[in-house]
Amino acid sequence: MKTFTPATARAGAIHLTIDGRRYEVDAEGKNLLHVCLSLGLNLPYFCWHPALHSVGACRQCAVKLFKDEADVKGRIIMSCMTPVTDGMRLSVEDPEARMFRSQVTEWLMVNHPHDCPICDEGGECHLQDMVVMTGHSYRRYRFTKRTHRNQDLGPFINHEMNRCIQCYRCIRFYRDYAGGKDLEALGAHDDVYFGRQTDGTLENEFSGNLVEVCPTGVFTDKTLKMHYARKWDLQTAPSICVHCAVGCNTIPGERYGTIRRVRTRYNGDVNGYFLCDRGRYGYEFVNGARRLRQPLVRTGDSLQPATSADAVSRAGAAVSGAAGSGAAGSGVPAIGIGSPRASLETNYALRALVGPANFYLGVSDRHLEILRLMTQVLREGPAPVASVRQAAKSDAALILGEDVWNTAPILALNLRQASTNAPAAAAMKKKKLNAWDDAAVREAIRLEK
């Protein structure tokens, strides 16, 4: 029997037997589902999310657990709610477990409208993927479907509740993780509704993440809908958000020369799985009609189109001509005024163009002095700059004269997570809770918060 040892395995790592194969895994802070996914095993799930953890609602990640080698019957368990222990024996491929997972998918599809061709989620739908993975392909339910009325949730998010599979991720993100108040689970039994008490714009500054945490097309990007393109038709490239100093990692999607949407690009040290609404939705200026898209060169009263290269070289010549004493110039040197809101590269280019002597950074001397001092303190001082990830894990955060929710929203979202760290750690220790058991941890700290 071969043992697979991932490069990250550490001392104290534990061993699992899955479908007869032995694995050495690092299960620190992970439940069984997380470990199986990390091993690359195909195990479907909906309600579990790496940042929102486990609640055991969807019952999709069932596997079979055996007591020991002699146990051939085993029992069905939910991997997302199961701690990983050394010597565990389980089967993902067990026929009964597969049958149960396929049945869970069939249940989830009972009321789903099967409207994939006209659904904005099409092509990047977790539900579609899981249906294929579990092999459910033939519908036996022959009665009418439950239907819902949808809500106007404002300019960012489209709402189509009939597609809902009730994984509860949306309210867990919106309420528990982001602290929103105006999105709720309403109703009961097979008529649970995720929405607001009345129509209206979602208030939370992270509402756009609903689009990504929703595993199907209930919450979709309304700005994308304005100029829709399928995921596979979008040109994408890794990018960094321009809206604040945090530098969240993004994936803008472009088609036919216009940006259609921005999605989160996972970076564990910065924004993790999430973006703020400014970062996600603040992209339309790129497509703005009043943007200068065609370089023009003025000759007398007429403006003639030019290529970018031509325009740049003529502008350069004009500036350096002005700076020198050439024929084009007036003899008065051109000066360049940079900006703290422009990129380093842009400022440097301007400085090179006009020469250091004629360049002004756009920052007052006093301000510059403070900036230099800050840089020095950050480089040499005793307190290193915390990454956003570190901020989320901090025991205490001192915020001096800053409105973090507006100047660095993702940092604020992570500081919000930090606010429950100490009570959560104490409760986990005292009550022997697993960190991934989200509902239990949140319950245990309810009074301490």
Binding site: R59, K432, A440, A444, R446
Partner: protein, 430 residues
């Protein structure tokens, strides 16, 4: 035959006032308990063999013993002094055919309060809640009055009966879901949140109401406790000839001559109960019965001599549950009866986990189709599959596994009836 739980309930069913309750020996159990350490009280209840009357039959003393008491608990002060500890009375009686707790709360509210106070002392709770079904308006009246009386008399409040222990008691009227009868769903509802259950562990004794140590006990369970403290474990055990001690409030409903409730020794047979209920109505024959309420397996007409205690009913293939049986006769469609039950369970599913939320309505609609003559041969296979799929551990809580107990056993016992619905394309009873 001794009937400790109901002997003092007046024939006109008006609530027994405090003075009358005390005259009948009331609050002597509490006095005895307060003279002992909490651990001793736990041990006394464990020794009595009392098992929970809410349906699961879990040993009550053992349930209490899971509350972390800390080192100083033997002396009577709370071990975990960092916050509140709660005792919650589950009075959200809502299962079809079950109305035993109502009788106890309407007729003798102080008996429940005394039991709750002893339980609160045993786990060193400082706040006791009574979580009451909203429709039980007479219970709400009798309990509200009784709590006020008990406060005035010093049984509830600061320094109870001169001890160092203080306890407050509050009544909470449930907004009404069957799910609140499940203890963790009840706790969520009591916190003002959706009545969805919680995963266990952690158990409520460790992390319950607002994350604090909490014990949730059924009304009838707690009503036994004063008598156990007052008369002792041996006396309590002698109440019943069966392996399960004490008496039980049994209920019988269905098409009988005198359906009703009786307090009888644990282990009374189903046949005796049906006789007490005056037998079947004219011309009707008994076909089967749900011994423990809506969420238990059918027993057949041949199993009437089964003793109605936890172990005997389990051995017969069902559960004692709440001890309130529903009888099926030969002029009632078993498919229709199961449909009524499954409609109830489908409606009362909280909607949290997939199998229960989507599976039970499918079951109910399939049964509906059978009743309407629109059944298909494959329907019986789909129903049978759901019985297996909604098994314990596959759903988030016990609601759905309980819901398919009558279905699974009906498919076995009344197979011909189900098939007749499919083949005749109609309900043969209509």
């Amino acid at each position: 035959m001794l009937k400790p739980l109901t002997a003092d309930i007046r024939s006109d069913r008006t609530a027994l006032p405090l003075a009358a309750y005390e005259a009948a020996g009331g609050y002597q159990g509490l006095r005895k308990a307060l003279a002992q350490t909490p651990i001793q009280v736990q041990q006394a209840v464990t020794a009595s063999g009392l098992r929970g009357r809410g349906g699961a039959g879990f040993p009550t003393g053992l349930k209490w013993s899971f509350v972390p008491m800390g080192g100083s608990a033997m002396g009577g002060s709370a071990g975990d002094t960092s916050g509140h500890r709660y005792l919650v009375v589950n009075a959200d009686e809502k299962e079809p055919g079950t109305m035993k707790d109502r009788w106890l709360m309407e007729g003798n509210p102080h008996q429940l309060l005394e039991g709750a106070l002893i339980a609160a002392w045993a786990v060193q709770a400082d706040i006791a809640y009574i979580f009451l079904r909203r429709e039980y308006t007479l219970c709400a009246e009798s309990l509200t009055r009784a709590i006020a009386e008990a406060q005035k008399a010093g049984y509830v409040g600061e320094r109870v009966l001169g001890t160092g222990w203080s306890v407050t008691m509050r009544m909470h009227l449930s907004a009404g879901r069957y799910m609140c009868g499940e203890e963790s769903g009840l706790l969520n509802a009591l916190e003002g949140r959706r009545a969805t259950p919680r995963n266990k562990p952690p158990f409520p004794q460790v992390s319950g109401l607002w994350g604090r140590p909490t014990v949730v006990n059924n009304v009838e369970t707690l009503c036994n406790v004063p008598h156990i403290l007052r008369e002792g474990a041996e006396w309590y055990k002698a109440l019943s000839p069966a392996s399960d001690p004490g008496t039980k409030i049994y209920g019988v409903s269905g098409k009988l001559n005198r359906p009703g409730l009786w307090e009888l020794p644990m282990g009374t047979t189903a046949r005796e109960l049906i006789d007490l209920a005056g037998g079947m109505r004219d011309g009707l024959r008994l076909r089967g019965l749900l011994p423990g309420g809506a969420s238990t397996d059918f027993l057949s007409a041949e199993q009437l001599d089964v003793k109605m205690d936890f172990d005997s009913v389990a051995k017969a293939g069902s559960r004692l549950g709440t001890g309130t049986m529903i009888v099926l006769d030969d002029h009632t469609c078993p498919v229709g009866m199961v449909l009524t039950l499954e409609r109830f369970f489908a409606r009362e599913s909280c909607g949290f986990c997939t199998p229960c939320r989507e599976g039970l309505p499918w079951v109910a609609r399939t049964l509906e189709a059978l009743e309407q003559g629109k059944g298909e041969p494959r329907d019986l296979e789909i129903l049978q599959q759901h019985v297996g799929l909604l098994a314990p551990g596959r759903t988030y809580c016990p609601l759905a596994p309980g819901a398919v107990e009558p279905l699974g056993s009906a498919l076995k016992l009344f197979r011909d009836d189900f098939e007749a619905h499919v083949h005749q394309k109609r309900c043969p009873w209509k």
